[in-house]
Symmetry: D2
Subunit: 353 residues, 4 copies
């Protein structure tokens, strides 16, 4: 039972079928194939506006290339201090931009708020030559803590961006989970709320390796093709990424699959809430549960084959459990039963942590 991340998941059957279909016969390389050519049109329908789509192989690539597109070397990108862009990409945004500054901003449960963002922009940029220039803002949806911005919250951040003339990027490695959680449309979650560029991630949602940079506003993608190529992210057999993305958004598969993952996390959190030794630490709004557990319980779970990560934090015993598109209710039940059983036999300390 692997709750380490959603990138431990296998491949959704519809995506595998799409791959198999695409595997037969020759096709022109570098996106000049039928699948890739359909992709812009299909996602334009899905997003209800003309979009430009550039598939790439990883989420790090999608984010770093998108931010390279938006910021000059002497620019600053504002994002949450615990966001993937800030801390989990080994400095990829800094490298591709030629050394732009990624400015981490504090905010509760992994979310930026307009006041904090406004203050950070104010502190950083004086429009003087000695300081880097505010250049872009990036939000993660759903966040690294499993919380989800409402479209209204996105719009509030976008208003700050607009005031400072900054484009707004969304790291959507778990975009489908956010959509499923909010029950809103892709358009409402993005360009209608003021998002300019989206890193759209299907890998965590059941693909092999299918991410894309989606430009939601005309005139922003200039030279992006060169950047992608130069970064080594122009796949020659692009049809396979495109075919997966097409199958993923077909018939709302992406939303349904992400909704399932969210429901599994909800069930897990609800079950954990009933175990006194366990304390759920952040709102469970998508497919992640952050919970503090005593050491014996964590060890016991692992001894029973439950995989999950301890999470670096000031909260002792914090662990992260991620559900995904193929997590089963059986697995969740098994985890909870094991936890309950272990908790029952453990002498319960007065202070559980």
């Amino acid at each position: 039972m692997n709750f380490c991340s959603d990138n431990v998941s296998g491949v959704l059957p519809d995506l595998l079928s799409a791959l198999i279909d695409a595997a037969d016969g020759s096709a022109m390389p570098y996106g000049a194939d039928a699948w890739s050519e359909r992709l812009d049109r299909r996602l334009s329908e899905v997003f209800e506006t003309p979009v430009e789509v550039f598939p790439v192989g990883t989420g790090t690539a999608a984010n770093a290339l998108a931010l390279w597109q938006l910021t000059p070397p002497f620019g600053a990108v504002f994002c949450h201090e615990e966001s993937h862009v800030a801390v989990d990409e080994c400095g990829a945004p800094e490298m591709f931009t030629g050394g732009a500054k990624v400015v981490g901003v504090a905010g509760e449960h992994g979310k930026l708020d307009p006041t904090g963002l406004e203050a950070a922009i104010g502190r950083t940029g004086y429009r003087m030559v000695h300081r880097v220039r505010p250049a872009a803002v990036s939000v993660t949806q759903a966040t690294e803590f499993g919380t989800v911005y409402t479209p209204a919250e996105i719009a509030d951040l976008a208003a700050v961006c607009r005031r400072h003339g900054l484009p707004l990027h969304m790291d959507g490695a778990r975009f489908a989970n956010a959509l499923a959680a909010q029950g809103c449309t892709p358009a409402e979650m993005t360009w209608r709320a003021g998002v300019d560029v989206l890193s759209l991630g299907a890998t965590k949602g059941g693909a092999i390796a299918a991410e894309a940079v989606v430009f939601l506003r005309p005139g922003l993608s200039n030279d992006f093709a060169e950047r992608r190529k130069r970064a080594g992210h122009l796949a020659s057999k692009m049809r396979f990424a495109s075919a997966q993305l097409l199958a993923w958004v077909n018939n709302d598969l992406w939303i349904r699959a992400a909704g399932h993952a969210n429901a599994m996390a909800r069930a897990l959190a609800d079950g954990m809430a009933g175990i006194p030794e366990v304390r759920v630490m952040a709102p469970v709004e998508s497919n992640m549960v952050f919970a503090a557990l005593p050491p014996d319980l964590r060890d016991g779970l692992r001894a029973n084959g439950v995989l999950f990560y301890d999470w670096p934090s000031e909260t002792p015993g914090l662990a992260r459990f991620v559900t995904h598109v193929q997590t089963t209710a059986t697995e969740v039940t098994a985890l909870l039963e094991t936890a309950r059983r272990l908790a029952a036999v453990t002498p319960r300390p007065s202070n559980p942590l």
Copy 2:
């Protein structure tokens, strides 16, 4: 009938099966899966020496990351002036290295020769602070012109490298074609001849997107994991690239498939040699045929559904025909028959080009 490139090919059935097998169930990400863990061991057997293998998504990534590993920002990389590294990667090696110089060296039919290499190194580097410092040499095997270095030729270039203390990189986007052409072992073609790092490409050989940087000598891969991550080339679901690579080298599939592609090119070239209007321009040693054709013949082939690229050259009418692992004898025959038929009805000029 698509002769544009070998990256137009579909997926070999054994690789597709391997993908399907790997798609089921969860696995740890970032290479901590069973397939990726087997890969080093398996390729160490194949190469008859302990190797370290880092899968990446594209050939550009494999080359640029390998050269980043070998050269400081103030270094120079020597390669053929028409090599992929020099002209077809939109400056990726320059970007990742932080601005190293890629020095193009002339050489017949896409191959470096020791004299030219020695001279280029001599011209570039005076070990003074004003000039960049010779740092690495890169050869392409098979070359962009379809020619193949013998192990002895590689060894001669490696001797020049050793004299100057430079590591030798091999761009093996078509490594299997070269192996099949030479009938030698992977070891003979690489480390026994003095190659230190190999970009091993399976994509052109029938995979979806499976390339790898293979370190053939201990102590060279230090920090490479960080570079790959930072470049956005650490795939979370690495099992799928690894599974393809494992299937590809299994039972010599890679050699057999590449040998088939080579044979198709041989047949194509032999057939073309019999058409007076067509002149084959470079030795056909792997899976590419460069031939000069009169404009009418090129137009006619295309009108009959034969796809191929015109090739920028001082030779007028130069075209490139690439065969691949799924090119059929029927396709080659059809191409040749069409060409013969078209040539017969075209009034033949005294000077065919």
Copy 3:
């Protein structure tokens, strides 16, 4: 009366004489002149250890090149969140390093403390491939707030560095002011306390443009000459920077001149302490006075020809007054008298700010 910065100062007479002496006749370029050749030897005496000295034109260059030397592209440099390296160099360290992360750390009055540094290192680096790797620590001496580390405080920070295997860089744009303030030797302030590399600045101390990267430990300067050249910071007529640096350290001129600047700041702060409308906000330990003044008083001073900068801060009315090697007691007295006179005629608010 210019209290904006110490870089508004003219040139110390001894340095001007040295320049004039050096201006006559020809000399070999790029440091192969008599002055530059004497510099390593002379500074080795001054620092009581064999040092390597690389003159450059600006403090930004000295810092950015020194940090480039110490950190890989995927590294992190820890420094105070308000330090010049972090906020006043338009991202130069990020650019030269190829996109390393400059991690700002909080600390009172511009100083890092061991606990905060230790925590920041702990938060940043998990030795995993997803996160940048802690690579270096940089302290500013004297700090941007005019405070000064004692050698013991430096040693405490160096102990943290050693624990993590990180080299310690000192931004010494005002190194002479710190020396004068502490009354210790250059050796005690640097390598004896654990500093590995020093950006030594003479420009703010009375030179035209003379800074140097000083390596205080053998084996650290490898390839630094190439970096300096490549950055455009290898002056062809290096003799003029070297001649200034030699004259500057001659007969303790640097310490005496900086001591004078410090004394002027002390006198200014003491005088200001007697004006009720003015509140001195930070310890005055070198040549800077940070004070909060009501708007009328700031306007009045400027109307009377006193130049100074308002300082971005949460403290309303914060201003920075910097004294330098040519600030006169007359200027300080005049400033204070003007301030007293203006304060006397201004109706004093209950809350002065």
Copy 4:
């Protein structure tokens, strides 16, 4: 007697006086001083068009920053294959541009010609994503071989640039020598002939360290201030560079001083032409003489205190003699007399080289 380079020269008396005048008293930093503010206006008069001037410390900085301004990371800069930009800046243009390609183009005596330039642009750029994009052209005036472009020749190259939409940069490290040689105005040599940006070098012409990037066309300098700062080339005490530049162009001092250097080279070449053992190898059009000398003669000159560089070349015995603004007729005569005397006593071989 130092004929190694013109950067061995001392400082012209008028420039030293200007420095001394500027050294007294305080002035605002970073170009907000009276001298720097006058510089744009003064050079706009000199160039007969509104120019923007950015002083920097070295010629490498001027060139690399100018080219960074003109080319994207995925761009190509075309220049002569032996130009400073291509081979003598340790890859600075590559670094600052983020890895653009510097494409060396052959051409007689260090000069680009329109045919060669056109061909190189054609070979490099196909406007496809796989290849870097032609972005700028750079010419050196006077060239590294001492030859000088006429304004008409510049205009012919500019026509090629215009056809491809490329800006034209001029490396004017020896711009004054070229002006003196051609007897034309700065305007005729630059923007009237189609030059967009000039690296204007005064250091080789008798300054301490005074170079400037001069934008000759509106709308090109956007963000350049940030680039200069970020590169560490924004001098805090900019007044000293500006004061030198002002004095240098005052009363045509720059042209007169450069004219003197040129005349000394002319005299040297004329004298050498009369010595049978010596063969002058390139047209002497500015302040450099390239001549082939037998080994004994080179050794003998050095033994008699004549300093000069051997020049890497396929011509055996090639040496470079550079005259400068303070080279005296006495020195030239002494060199020639020594050479004649040495040649007379050396048994003359049938083939002198």
